[in-house]
């Protein structure tokens, strides 16, 4: 029970909640901050700006500024089918993974949190142990399974295992959260004649929204960035996801350095844009994650 009490009330974004209590910055803080921002952002900017040069420019001086700035690299990638196909495949798989993980995971967490039955902790334990089984380590066995059930070169062969591997963290985060929702609410709902289904859909799901958002984002980002399983499962380039597309593009067009710069830059943008939009949720969710794992 301590777990439930601890994890659930933890706010998603605790940052800067007590203005005035935090010590003011010292010049050293600003200096360190500047250095960190430079180290993280300069490599990205280097690649984005490099995409505006020509391969000839890059060969003459690898590190100059574009002169003149050319849009051709970006234009040709954005008008080719490959980039959009990769993007579409990544999006399809990530959405299905998220829907499956959050759908199945929230129902299972509801059962594990609000029903009493023998062996409940053992069932929970089964999911939790999955967290100790890193997806990359499991990739080859999952490939063998896909081969057996004829899911090779099929997007389901990637989406279903990714959803399954997203379940442990989903259940670990959701179960304590759902447990902490007061039993009085359930009693009241029953008195009002609500069925279990109504209680789940109308009370549990809305109240669990912050935790549901966190697990959804985790599942989505993990799937979006996955490389190894798609690498094993897909042989047909029309199935490639974005990470696979980037590495393939790099090895196929290694002579056309400028195009590689542009493709790499473009492949970063969806993730960075998504992150900029959902920044508070992602950062808050991932730091809340630590609390849930130990809870």
């Amino acid at each position: 029970m301590t777990a439930a009490v601890q994890a659930a009330p933890r706010p998603a974004a605790p940052a800067g909640r007590r203005p005035g209590r935090v010590k003011p910055a010292i010049p050293l803080s600003y200096l360190v901050a500047l250095v960190i921002v430079a180290i993280t952002l300069v490599p990205m900017l280097y690649v984005i700006v490099g995409g505006f040069r020509t391969t000839a420019q890059l060969n003459v001086s690898p590190n100059g500024l574009p002169h003149p700035w050319v849009w051709e690299n970006y234009k040709s990638i954005l008008t080719s089918a490959t980039f959009w196909q990769n993007l579409g495949n990544s999006a399809l798989i990530a959405f299905v993974v998220t829907a499956l993980a959050v759908g199945c995971g929230s129902m299972a967490s509801f059962a594990l949190a609000r029903y009493r039955f023998p062996g409940r902790d053992a069932w929970y334990m089964l999911f939790a142990v999955g967290l100790l089984f890193p997806p990359n380590v499991a990739s080859l066995p999952v490939y063998f399974l896909d081969k057996q059930i004829h899911l090779l070169d099929n997007w389901l062969g990637v989406a279903l295992p990714e959803a399954a591997f997203a379940l442990p963290i989903t259940v670990i985060i959701l179960r304590p959260f759902m447990r902490a929702i007061p039993g009085e609410l359930e009693d009241a709902a029953v008195v009002d004649g609500a069925s279990r289904y109504t209680f789940f859909m109308k009370i549990m799901v809305p109240l669990s929204r912050p935790a549901l958002m966190t697990v959804a984002i985790l599942a989505f980002v993990t799937s979006w960035n996955a490389y190894l399983l798609p690498l094993l499962v897909f042989t047909n380039p029309t199935h490639y996801t974005l990470p696979l597309g980037v590495s393939t593009f790099q090895s196929t067009y290694s002579q056309d350095t400028a195009a590689v710069f542009a493709f790499t830059a473009l492949s970063m943008l969806p993730a960075l844009a998504f992150f900029a939009l959902a920044q508070r949720r992602i950062v808050g969710g991932l730091s809340g994650l630590a609390g849930s794992i130990k809870a």
Binding site: Y124, A138, K147
Partner: protein, 324 residues
């Protein structure tokens, strides 16, 4: 499923006086159906795609098999012995250990120091958090290609070193067997240090400011306050950081595979690149299966032991609670 049937049995007496309010059900079988509907999909997905593959791999590992034709060449534990005896596998495992240890002795202190410095009221702190965290959301595959471009001979890093007068320090970052693993570590640090800093900052926000103030009033220096109050209270967060870093170190693959394929001469290979190189690419599926099972056992034992003996100090861990 036996467990669920047990559930039905338990609920039957509950028809009389309900054990707790709101759990009243006149039809126990209905409750069983509910539990099946709720748990079924997740259990099916998890059993088929997480548990079953490991069983399959453990079985395939007993055969000499190239992926075609029937499993007929039974070799017992031969594959497992071969993997464990292979010097390349051992050095790959060693590389994982080096990455894990370097993370602990280099990334962690830097992350803690930076988090302590940034845990202050600053202009632009939300931008700073975003910038620090940005590399983490980019896929490892993209990061790998990005650093391939930056590290190419005569590229950005070389020019940077030249510009600050360290031109003599320029190395074959990805081609020198003595350097390449450390290059990988630097790129890994670039990608993941932001996550650690954000995690630690969240931990610092949870430490009441009163404690530091009280120590300051008692005349403790800033260093002593940090050393004896802040750091011990940050302990749980640091231990979680170590856990996540350890699991991450064990499964390093994408970066290494795209940048070097584990080369040159296996100098940057990791356990997972070893498994894919010698099990998948060379079509030695039986051998690869044995490697997968060994990797699974190593990660499982390490992570479980850490959960059980270290994280346990903080709270009863989710993964250990049921094992009483």
């Amino acid at each position: 499923m036996t467990e669920l049937k047990g559930a039905t049995a338990e609920v039957i007496p509950a028809v009389a006086p309900p054990p707790s309010p709101g759990r009243r059900r006149s039809w126990p079988s209905r409750r069983f159906v509910e539990l099946t509907v709720l748990l079924g999909p997740a259990l099916a997905l998890f059993t088929i795609f997480v548990l079953l593959p490991i069983g399959i791999a453990a079985y395939y590992g007993l055969f000499n098999w190239t992926g075609y034709g029937p499993l007929s060449d039974f070799t017992g534990l031969h594959n497992y012995k071969l993997v464990l005896a292979d010097p390349v596998f051992r050095s790959s495992l060693w590389h994982n250990v080096i990455i894990a240890v370097l993370s602990l002795v280099i990334q962690l202190p830097i992350s803690v120091a930076i988090a302590l410095l940034l845990n202050r009221k600053m202009r632009g702190s939300s931008f700073l958090r975003m910038a620090v965290f940005a590399p983490y959301v980019v896929s490892q595959a993209t990061t790998a290609v990005l650093w391939l471009l930056i590290l190419q001979p005569g590229g950005f890093i070389d020019a940077l070193l030249q510009a600050v007068g360290l031109g003599g320090e320029i190395k074959d970052w990805l081609a020198d067997p003595n350097i390449v693993l450390y290059t990988m570590f630097v790129v890994l640090t670039w990608q993941f240090i932001g996550f650690g800093i954000i995690l630690l900052l969240a931990g610092l926000q949870g430490i009441p400011a009163e404690l530091r103030e009280a120590a300051a009033i008692d005349g403790a220096s800033a260093w002593r306050t940090t050393r004896h109050i802040t750091l011990p209270l940050l302990g749980p967060t640091i231990r979680i950081w170590i856990f996540l870093s350890m699991i991450g170190s064990l499964q390093v693959f994408d970066l290494v595979w795209i940048m070097t394929l584990g080369g040159p001469a296996n100098a940057s290979s990791t356990m997972v690149t070893y498994m894919i190189f010698f099990g998948f690419r060379s079509l030695e599926f039986g051998y690869g299966s044995a490697a997968a099972v060994i990797l699974f056992v190593i990660s499982f034992v390490l992570a479980f032991a850490y959960q059980r003996f270290v994280l346990r100090r903080d709270t009863e861990g989710a993964l250990t609670r049921a094992v009483r």
